[in-house]
Symmetry: C2
Subunit: 211 residues, 2 copies
Amino acid sequence: MENKGILIVVSGFSGSGKGTLMKELLGRYPDTYALSISATTRAPREGEKDGREYFFVSREEFEKMIAKDELIEYARYVENYYGTPRRYVEEKLKQGKDVILEIEIQGALKVKKAFPDTLLLFVTPPSASELKSRLVGRGTETMEVIRSRMNRACEEAQGMENYDYLIVNDDLNACVEEMHSIIRGEHRRISRNTVFMEEIKEDLIRLKGED
Amino acid sequence: MENKGILIVVSGFSGSGKGTLMKELLGRYPDTYALSISATTRAPREGEKDGREYFFVSREEFEKMIAKDELIEYARYVENYYGTPRRYVEEKLKQGKDVILEIEIQGALKVKKAFPDTLLLFVTPPSASELKSRLVGRGTETMEVIRSRMNRACEEAQGMENYDYLIVNDDLNACVEEMHSIIRGEHRRISRNTVFMEEIKEDLIRLKGED
Protein backbone atom coordinates (compact mmCIF):
# COMPACT_ATOMS: atom_id res chain seq x y z
CA MET A 1 0.00 0.00 0.00
CA GLU A 2 1.07 3.60 -0.40
CA ASN A 3 3.26 5.06 2.30
CA LYS A 4 2.54 8.72 1.79
CA GLY A 5 0.97 10.53 4.71
CA ILE A 6 -2.40 12.22 4.62
CA LEU A 7 -2.81 15.94 5.17
CA ILE A 8 -5.55 16.42 7.75
CA VAL A 9 -7.32 19.60 8.75
CA VAL A 10 -9.07 19.57 12.11
CA SER A 11 -11.63 22.28 12.86
CA GLY A 12 -14.60 22.34 15.15
CA PHE A 13 -16.89 24.24 17.45
CA SER A 14 -15.28 26.29 20.18
CA GLY A 15 -15.83 24.22 23.26
CA SER A 16 -15.68 20.97 21.30
CA GLY A 17 -12.47 20.07 23.11
CA LYS A 18 -10.41 19.71 19.94
CA GLY A 19 -7.24 21.00 21.55
CA THR A 20 -7.26 18.24 24.19
CA LEU A 21 -8.22 15.72 21.53
CA MET A 22 -5.22 16.64 19.35
CA LYS A 23 -2.84 16.53 22.29
CA GLU A 24 -4.08 13.07 23.25
CA LEU A 25 -3.94 11.74 19.68
CA LEU A 26 -0.38 12.97 19.18
CA GLY A 27 0.62 11.60 22.59
CA ARG A 28 -0.70 8.12 21.83
CA TYR A 29 0.56 7.84 18.26
CA PRO A 30 3.70 9.98 18.01
CA ASP A 31 5.08 7.93 15.10
CA THR A 32 1.89 8.21 13.07
CA TYR A 33 1.07 11.88 13.33
CA ALA A 34 2.85 15.21 13.10
CA LEU A 35 1.22 18.44 14.20
CA SER A 36 1.87 21.42 12.01
CA ILE A 37 2.73 24.59 13.93
CA SER A 38 1.41 27.84 12.48
CA ALA A 39 3.47 30.99 12.09
CA THR A 40 2.07 34.24 13.40
CA THR A 41 3.04 37.87 13.80
CA ARG A 42 1.10 38.32 17.03
CA ALA A 43 3.08 38.58 20.24
CA PRO A 44 3.46 35.46 22.39
CA ARG A 45 1.06 35.30 25.36
CA GLU A 46 2.23 34.29 28.79
CA GLY A 47 3.32 30.65 28.85
CA GLU A 48 3.52 30.35 25.06
CA LYS A 49 6.77 29.09 23.61
CA ASP A 50 8.19 29.74 20.16
CA GLY A 51 7.88 26.57 18.06
CA ARG A 52 5.32 24.97 20.37
CA GLU A 53 2.10 27.03 20.20
CA TYR A 54 3.31 29.09 17.23
CA PHE A 55 6.38 30.20 15.38
CA PHE A 56 6.49 33.85 16.37
CA VAL A 57 7.87 35.94 13.51
CA SER A 58 8.02 39.61 12.63
CA ARG A 59 5.74 41.15 10.07
CA GLU A 60 8.66 41.54 7.66
CA GLU A 61 9.56 37.87 8.01
CA PHE A 62 5.96 36.84 7.48
CA GLU A 63 5.58 38.95 4.35
CA LYS A 64 8.80 37.46 3.02
CA MET A 65 7.32 33.97 3.56
CA ILE A 66 4.23 35.00 1.60
CA ALA A 67 6.34 36.41 -1.23
CA LYS A 68 8.43 33.22 -1.45
CA ASP A 69 5.31 30.98 -1.43
CA GLU A 70 6.50 29.36 1.76
CA LEU A 71 2.99 29.18 3.25
CA ILE A 72 0.26 26.71 2.31
CA GLU A 73 -2.38 29.16 3.47
CA TYR A 74 -2.44 32.34 5.48
CA ALA A 75 -4.93 34.86 6.75
CA ARG A 76 -4.95 38.19 8.51
CA TYR A 77 -7.12 38.63 11.62
CA VAL A 78 -7.32 42.12 13.05
CA GLU A 79 -3.71 43.32 12.93
CA ASN A 80 -1.97 39.95 12.74
CA TYR A 81 -1.00 37.32 10.21
CA TYR A 82 -1.44 33.58 10.77
CA GLY A 83 -0.22 30.94 8.32
CA THR A 84 0.89 27.34 7.74
CA PRO A 85 4.56 26.89 6.76
CA ARG A 86 4.83 24.63 3.73
CA ARG A 87 8.19 22.94 4.28
CA TYR A 88 7.42 21.10 7.53
CA VAL A 89 4.14 19.77 6.13
CA GLU A 90 5.68 18.48 2.90
CA GLU A 91 8.64 16.88 4.67
CA LYS A 92 6.47 14.99 7.15
CA LEU A 93 4.04 13.83 4.44
CA LYS A 94 6.95 12.44 2.44
CA GLN A 95 8.14 10.55 5.53
CA GLY A 96 4.73 8.87 5.63
CA LYS A 97 3.36 10.81 8.59
CA ASP A 98 -0.20 12.06 8.68
CA VAL A 99 0.12 15.79 9.21
CA ILE A 100 -2.53 17.59 11.23
CA LEU A 101 -3.37 21.28 10.84
CA GLU A 102 -5.67 22.72 13.48
CA ILE A 103 -7.15 25.68 11.63
CA GLU A 104 -10.50 27.33 11.00
CA ILE A 105 -12.81 26.87 8.08
CA GLN A 106 -11.48 29.63 5.82
CA GLY A 107 -7.99 28.17 6.06
CA ALA A 108 -9.35 24.64 5.71
CA LEU A 109 -10.97 25.49 2.39
CA LYS A 110 -7.79 27.15 1.10
CA VAL A 111 -5.75 24.07 2.01
CA LYS A 112 -8.29 21.76 0.34
CA LYS A 113 -8.09 23.85 -2.81
CA ALA A 114 -4.29 23.66 -2.90
CA PHE A 115 -4.20 19.97 -1.86
CA PRO A 116 -7.42 18.27 -2.97
CA ASP A 117 -6.51 15.07 -1.10
CA THR A 118 -6.73 16.85 2.24
CA LEU A 119 -8.97 15.16 4.77
CA LEU A 120 -11.25 17.61 6.58
CA LEU A 121 -12.43 16.65 10.07
CA PHE A 122 -14.94 18.62 12.12
CA VAL A 123 -15.08 18.13 15.89
CA THR A 124 -18.47 18.51 17.53
CA PRO A 125 -20.12 17.72 20.86
CA PRO A 126 -22.42 14.68 20.69
CA SER A 127 -25.68 16.62 20.47
CA ALA A 128 -27.11 20.04 19.93
CA SER A 129 -28.24 20.22 23.55
CA GLU A 130 -24.74 19.39 24.78
CA LEU A 131 -23.31 22.11 22.53
CA LYS A 132 -25.87 24.53 23.96
CA SER A 133 -24.91 23.86 27.55
CA ARG A 134 -21.21 24.17 26.77
CA LEU A 135 -21.85 27.54 25.13
CA VAL A 136 -23.99 28.87 27.95
CA GLY A 137 -21.50 27.69 30.54
CA ARG A 138 -22.23 27.45 34.25
CA GLY A 139 -24.41 30.53 34.41
CA THR A 140 -21.47 32.72 35.45
CA GLU A 141 -20.91 34.25 32.00
CA THR A 142 -22.25 37.62 30.97
CA MET A 143 -24.98 37.86 28.35
CA GLU A 144 -22.45 39.49 26.05
CA VAL A 145 -20.01 36.59 26.27
CA ILE A 146 -22.77 34.04 25.64
CA ARG A 147 -24.13 36.03 22.72
CA SER A 148 -20.68 36.26 21.14
CA ARG A 149 -20.09 32.50 21.58
CA MET A 150 -23.45 31.77 20.05
CA ASN A 151 -22.76 33.94 17.04
CA ARG A 152 -19.44 32.26 16.55
CA ALA A 153 -20.98 28.77 16.83
CA CYS A 154 -23.62 29.69 14.25
CA GLU A 155 -20.88 30.77 11.86
CA GLU A 156 -18.89 27.59 12.54
CA ALA A 157 -21.98 25.43 11.96
CA GLN A 158 -22.47 26.96 8.51
CA GLY A 159 -19.17 25.46 7.40
CA MET A 160 -19.71 21.86 8.55
CA GLU A 161 -20.95 20.58 5.18
CA ASN A 162 -17.56 21.28 3.64
CA TYR A 163 -15.87 18.73 5.86
CA ASP A 164 -15.48 14.99 5.26
CA TYR A 165 -16.21 13.55 8.69
CA LEU A 166 -17.79 14.53 11.98
CA ILE A 167 -15.65 13.68 15.00
CA VAL A 168 -18.10 13.36 17.87
CA ASN A 169 -16.41 14.25 21.12
CA ASP A 170 -18.38 12.71 23.94
CA ASP A 171 -15.92 10.51 25.80
CA LEU A 172 -12.33 11.70 25.18
CA ASN A 173 -10.80 8.23 25.13
CA ALA A 174 -13.35 6.79 22.71
CA CYS A 175 -13.14 9.89 20.55
CA VAL A 176 -9.35 9.70 20.18
CA GLU A 177 -9.61 6.09 19.08
CA GLU A 178 -12.47 6.81 16.69
CA MET A 179 -10.56 9.65 15.09
CA HIS A 180 -7.48 7.45 14.73
CA SER A 181 -9.56 4.69 13.21
CA ILE A 182 -11.27 7.05 10.73
CA ILE A 183 -7.87 8.30 9.56
CA ARG A 184 -6.46 4.76 9.25
CA GLY A 185 -9.53 3.76 7.25
CA GLU A 186 -9.04 6.75 4.99
CA HIS A 187 -5.65 5.31 3.97
CA ARG A 188 -7.64 2.50 2.32
CA ARG A 189 -9.68 4.88 0.14
CA ILE A 190 -9.50 3.81 -3.47
CA SER A 191 -8.43 7.29 -4.54
CA ARG A 192 -5.40 7.11 -2.21
CA ASN A 193 -4.18 3.80 -3.65
CA THR A 194 -3.75 4.40 -7.36
CA VAL A 195 -0.15 3.13 -7.37
CA PHE A 196 -1.15 -0.15 -5.70
CA MET A 197 -3.96 -0.68 -8.20
CA GLU A 198 -1.78 0.08 -11.22
CA GLU A 199 0.78 -2.44 -9.97
CA ILE A 200 -1.81 -5.19 -9.63
CA LYS A 201 -3.13 -4.51 -13.11
CA GLU A 202 0.33 -4.49 -14.69
CA ASP A 203 1.40 -7.67 -12.90
CA LEU A 204 -1.73 -9.47 -14.02
CA ILE A 205 -1.17 -8.49 -17.63
CA ARG A 206 2.50 -9.51 -17.45
CA LEU A 207 1.60 -12.85 -15.90
CA LYS A 208 -1.00 -13.49 -18.59
CA GLY A 209 1.69 -12.93 -21.22
CA GLU A 210 3.96 -15.53 -19.58
CA ASP A 211 1.67 -18.45 -20.48
CA MET B 1 -26.31 10.64 15.23
CA GLU B 2 -28.39 8.97 12.54
CA ASN B 3 -29.50 5.42 13.16
CA LYS B 4 -30.07 4.32 9.61
CA GLY B 5 -27.94 1.46 8.37
CA ILE B 6 -25.54 1.64 5.47
CA LEU B 7 -25.97 -0.46 2.35
CA ILE B 8 -22.63 -2.11 1.62
CA VAL B 9 -21.54 -3.96 -1.48
CA VAL B 10 -18.56 -6.27 -1.10
CA SER B 11 -16.78 -7.48 -4.22
CA GLY B 12 -13.23 -8.64 -4.78
CA PHE B 13 -10.78 -10.82 -6.61
CA SER B 14 -11.54 -14.50 -6.74
CA GLY B 15 -9.18 -15.98 -4.20
CA SER B 16 -9.27 -12.84 -2.05
CA GLY B 17 -11.01 -14.81 0.67
CA LYS B 18 -14.04 -12.55 0.81
CA GLY B 19 -16.44 -15.39 1.63
CA THR B 20 -14.55 -16.28 4.82
CA LEU B 21 -14.18 -12.60 5.64
CA MET B 22 -17.94 -12.02 5.43
CA LYS B 23 -18.70 -15.08 7.52
CA GLU B 24 -16.28 -13.91 10.21
CA LEU B 25 -17.58 -10.32 10.21
CA LEU B 26 -21.19 -11.47 10.55
CA GLY B 27 -20.22 -13.95 13.24
CA ARG B 28 -18.44 -11.33 15.34
CA TYR B 29 -20.98 -8.54 14.93
CA PRO B 30 -24.38 -10.20 14.42
CA ASP B 31 -26.26 -7.17 15.78
CA THR B 32 -24.49 -4.72 13.49
CA TYR B 33 -24.68 -6.43 10.13
CA ALA B 34 -27.20 -8.31 8.04
CA LEU B 35 -26.21 -10.32 4.99
CA SER B 36 -28.53 -10.08 2.04
CA ILE B 37 -29.27 -13.43 0.40
CA SER B 38 -29.63 -13.41 -3.37
CA ALA B 39 -32.41 -15.11 -5.24
CA THR B 40 -31.52 -17.39 -8.15
CA THR B 41 -33.15 -19.70 -10.65
CA ARG B 42 -30.20 -22.08 -10.77
CA ALA B 43 -30.57 -25.45 -9.07
CA PRO B 44 -29.10 -25.87 -5.57
CA ARG B 45 -25.74 -27.65 -5.48
CA GLU B 46 -24.99 -30.35 -2.99
CA GLY B 47 -24.91 -28.96 0.55
CA GLU B 48 -26.63 -25.70 -0.37
CA LYS B 49 -29.72 -24.80 1.60
CA ASP B 50 -32.62 -22.61 0.50
CA GLY B 51 -32.43 -19.27 2.34
CA ARG B 52 -28.78 -19.74 3.33
CA GLU B 53 -26.65 -19.65 0.17
CA TYR B 54 -29.54 -18.47 -2.02
CA PHE B 55 -33.28 -18.30 -2.24
CA PHE B 56 -33.91 -20.90 -4.93
CA VAL B 57 -36.90 -19.88 -7.01
CA SER B 58 -38.41 -20.92 -10.33
CA ARG B 59 -37.98 -18.88 -13.45
CA GLU B 60 -41.64 -17.85 -13.32
CA GLU B 61 -41.28 -16.65 -9.74
CA PHE B 62 -38.14 -14.71 -10.61
CA GLU B 63 -39.74 -12.99 -13.57
CA LYS B 64 -42.69 -12.06 -11.38
CA MET B 65 -40.24 -10.45 -8.92
CA ILE B 66 -38.71 -8.45 -11.77
CA ALA B 67 -42.13 -7.31 -12.98
CA LYS B 68 -43.16 -6.20 -9.47
CA ASP B 69 -39.87 -4.31 -8.93
CA GLU B 70 -39.07 -6.55 -5.99
CA LEU B 71 -35.35 -6.75 -6.88
CA ILE B 72 -32.76 -4.02 -6.28
CA GLU B 73 -30.66 -5.42 -9.11
CA TYR B 74 -30.59 -8.61 -11.12
CA ALA B 75 -28.56 -10.16 -13.90
CA ARG B 76 -28.68 -13.20 -16.12
CA TYR B 77 -25.59 -15.41 -16.36
CA VAL B 78 -25.72 -18.20 -18.91
CA GLU B 79 -29.21 -19.65 -18.41
CA ASN B 80 -29.87 -18.41 -14.89
CA TYR B 81 -31.10 -15.32 -13.12
CA TYR B 82 -29.48 -13.89 -9.97
CA GLY B 83 -30.86 -10.93 -8.04
CA THR B 84 -31.10 -9.04 -4.75
CA PRO B 85 -34.55 -9.03 -3.12
CA ARG B 86 -35.50 -5.50 -2.09
CA ARG B 87 -37.69 -6.08 0.95
CA TYR B 88 -35.12 -7.70 3.23
CA VAL B 89 -32.56 -4.99 2.46
CA GLU B 90 -34.92 -2.10 3.12
CA GLU B 91 -36.29 -3.64 6.34
CA LYS B 92 -32.84 -4.22 7.81
CA LEU B 93 -31.60 -0.74 6.85
CA LYS B 94 -34.61 0.81 8.62
CA GLN B 95 -33.77 -1.23 11.73
CA GLY B 96 -30.34 0.42 11.68
CA LYS B 97 -28.40 -2.59 10.45
CA ASP B 98 -25.64 -2.30 7.90
CA VAL B 99 -26.70 -4.60 5.07
CA ILE B 100 -24.04 -6.40 3.09
CA LEU B 101 -24.48 -7.59 -0.49
CA GLU B 102 -21.75 -9.85 -1.81
CA ILE B 103 -22.08 -9.29 -5.54
CA GLU B 104 -19.92 -8.61 -8.58
CA ILE B 105 -19.07 -5.31 -10.15
CA GLN B 106 -21.95 -5.09 -12.64
CA GLY B 107 -24.44 -5.58 -9.84
CA ALA B 108 -22.47 -3.22 -7.59
CA LEU B 109 -22.77 -0.40 -10.09
CA LYS B 110 -26.49 -0.98 -10.54
CA VAL B 111 -27.01 -0.84 -6.76
CA LYS B 112 -24.93 2.34 -6.50
CA LYS B 113 -27.05 3.94 -9.19
CA ALA B 114 -30.30 3.05 -7.43
CA PHE B 115 -28.91 3.91 -3.94
CA PRO B 116 -26.17 6.53 -4.28
CA ASP B 117 -25.25 6.22 -0.58
CA THR B 118 -24.12 2.62 -1.08
CA LEU B 119 -20.64 1.92 0.24
CA LEU B 120 -18.55 -0.13 -2.21
CA LEU B 121 -15.77 -2.28 -0.76
CA PHE B 122 -13.27 -4.24 -2.83
CA VAL B 123 -11.37 -7.13 -1.24
CA THR B 124 -7.84 -7.75 -2.47
CA PRO B 125 -4.76 -9.72 -1.42
CA PRO B 126 -2.03 -7.51 0.11
CA SER B 127 0.15 -7.32 -3.00
CA ALA B 128 0.26 -8.07 -6.67
CA SER B 129 2.74 -10.92 -6.10
CA GLU B 130 0.45 -12.51 -3.51
CA LEU B 131 -2.48 -12.28 -5.91
CA LYS B 132 -0.33 -13.91 -8.58
CA SER B 133 0.59 -16.87 -6.43
CA ARG B 134 -3.00 -17.39 -5.34
CA LEU B 135 -4.08 -17.42 -8.99
CA VAL B 136 -1.37 -19.81 -10.10
CA GLY B 137 -2.05 -22.12 -7.16
CA ARG B 138 0.24 -24.92 -6.06
CA GLY B 139 1.35 -25.94 -9.52
CA THR B 140 -1.32 -28.62 -9.71
CA GLU B 141 -3.69 -26.61 -11.91
CA THR B 142 -3.93 -26.97 -15.68
CA MET B 143 -2.84 -24.15 -17.95
CA GLU B 144 -6.44 -23.70 -18.94
CA VAL B 145 -7.64 -23.16 -15.38
CA ILE B 146 -4.85 -20.67 -14.68
CA ARG B 147 -5.53 -18.79 -17.89
CA SER B 148 -9.20 -18.53 -17.10
CA ARG B 149 -8.48 -17.29 -13.55
CA MET B 150 -6.08 -14.74 -14.92
CA ASN B 151 -8.57 -13.42 -17.41
CA ARG B 152 -11.15 -13.14 -14.72
CA ALA B 153 -8.76 -11.30 -12.37
CA CYS B 154 -7.87 -8.84 -15.16
CA GLU B 155 -11.55 -8.08 -15.64
CA GLU B 156 -12.09 -7.73 -11.90
CA ALA B 157 -9.10 -5.37 -11.63
CA GLN B 158 -10.62 -3.05 -14.25
CA GLY B 159 -13.52 -2.36 -11.94
CA MET B 160 -11.59 -1.46 -8.79
CA GLU B 161 -11.65 2.31 -9.36
CA ASN B 162 -15.41 2.33 -9.00
CA TYR B 163 -15.22 1.22 -5.40
CA ASP B 164 -14.80 3.38 -2.29
CA TYR B 165 -12.29 1.37 -0.26
CA LEU B 166 -9.75 -1.42 -0.68
CA ILE B 167 -10.06 -4.13 1.96
CA VAL B 168 -6.63 -5.72 2.13
CA ASN B 169 -6.91 -9.33 3.19
CA ASP B 170 -3.58 -10.42 4.57
CA ASP B 171 -4.30 -11.62 8.08
CA LEU B 172 -7.97 -12.63 8.43
CA ASN B 173 -8.37 -11.39 11.99
CA ALA B 174 -6.84 -7.97 11.29
CA CYS B 175 -8.79 -7.69 8.06
CA VAL B 176 -12.16 -8.31 9.74
CA GLU B 177 -11.42 -5.61 12.30
CA GLU B 178 -10.19 -3.18 9.65
CA MET B 179 -13.30 -3.70 7.57
CA HIS B 180 -15.51 -3.21 10.63
CA SER B 181 -13.63 -0.06 11.53
CA ILE B 182 -13.88 1.37 8.00
CA ILE B 183 -17.64 0.84 8.03
CA ARG B 184 -18.00 2.38 11.49
CA GLY B 185 -15.97 5.36 10.36
CA GLU B 186 -18.19 5.73 7.32
CA HIS B 187 -21.14 6.33 9.65
CA ARG B 188 -19.37 9.59 10.60
CA ARG B 189 -19.22 10.85 7.00
CA ILE B 190 -20.66 14.35 6.81
CA SER B 191 -22.99 13.31 3.99
CA ARG B 192 -24.53 10.62 6.22
CA ASN B 193 -25.30 13.05 9.04
CA THR B 194 -27.43 15.77 7.50
CA VAL B 195 -30.19 15.39 10.13
CA PHE B 196 -27.70 15.80 12.98
CA MET B 197 -26.21 18.92 11.39
CA GLU B 198 -29.60 20.51 10.71
CA GLU B 199 -30.56 19.95 14.34
CA ILE B 200 -27.44 21.66 15.63
CA LYS B 201 -28.00 24.64 13.35
CA GLU B 202 -31.66 25.00 14.31
CA ASP B 203 -30.93 24.71 18.03
CA LEU B 204 -28.23 27.35 17.81
CA ILE B 205 -30.54 29.76 16.03
CA ARG B 206 -33.34 29.09 18.53
CA LEU B 207 -30.98 29.63 21.46
CA LYS B 208 -29.74 32.88 20.00
CA GLY B 209 -33.33 34.10 19.83
CA GLU B 210 -33.86 33.35 23.53
CA ASP B 211 -31.48 36.09 24.69
